[in-house]
Symmetry: C2
């Protein structure tokens, strides 16, 4: 399956979540088993046999791809969640939104010192969430092995914010 | 790995989310690659080579196991989400909570008529969410192939509410 055919599996939802935005809806790709498998194969190809101890998935869509990839690579999984969702003691990082800010949390014992963590999300937009997730791993004295995602909105320059890290995306959009 | 050893990988968090409740925290199991693999193997064993078209995962922890199992079984994945999270037209079901009610949504085109859907969540408690998710599948004229989860709190009698369906859980707790 070519990148163009994979992109055709993604539904464009206009004016969501607000007027002027084109939302890239990956649920139409996920329900297509061939397309879902192809995206996972590309990620597996990239990360197979690399020294990765854990995959950290970003709530919520990052859980789907992160869980699947953790199974495929046979590594453990760590959830990065919105505030108040994790039951045991957490550490928190704050990141900027267009208006205001948001927070992301990880259990304090989720990553052991020295463990290599691959961060997985469905989307890189401005890179703020993933940069905060990377800081959480480093706060726990883990090492960010890399950042992998399915869709990269390249025109939002998320890579700039994620510069210290190895960033990989399956599909890139150069404009809205 | 025995069921007892798997249970030891689950962390008991007392008084969460409120006094008197023991929360079964599966994040300690997830980060252990052997335990995570074992849970997935048990689910794969149960559902391999069955006529399943789609796995529907319940937000948010059901996305982790559901995504992984969809990859393992090579089927598509459908997210069942909290209200307002899905970008395209949705259908909604309401279910009762201890105090008040909650809703769950699915895209109207997520399941095609006649498709066989396996529902996956991390936990069966009272069964309310999963029963609502099953109604969504049936509203779309899909067929609920079964309901699979990692932990079943049997003392809450969730199976009663899920009676018409084939229910499977990896680990059962008979009391708090």
């Amino acid at each position: 399956m070519s990148f163009d055919s994979l992109k055709k599996k993604i539904r464009d939802v206009r004016d969501y979540p607000k007027p002027g935005i084109v939302f890239r809806d990956i649920t139409t790709l996920l329900k297509d088993r061939g397309a879902f498998r192809e995206v996972l194969n590309i990620l597996v190809e990239r990360y197979r046999d690399r020294p990765i101890d854990l995959i950290a998935g970003i709530e919520a869509r990052g859980f789907i791809f992160g869980g699947a990839l953790a199974s495929d690579l046979n590594v453990g999984f760590v959830p990065m969640r919105k505030p108040g969702k994790l039951p045991a003691p957490t550490m928190t990082e704050t990141y900027a939104l267009e208006y205001g800010e948001d927070k992301i949390q990880m259990h304090v014992d989720a990553v052991a010192p020295g463990q290599k963590v691959l961060l997985i999300d469905d989307l890189i937009a401005t890179g703020g969430t993933l940069a905060a997730a990377a800081r959480l791993v480093e706060k726990a004295k883990g090492e960010v092995f890399g950042i992998g995602c399915v869709i990269e909105l390249a025109f939002l320059n998320g890579r700039e914010k994620l510069k210290p890290y190895d960033v990989f995306s399956v599909l890139t959009y150069d404009s809205e």
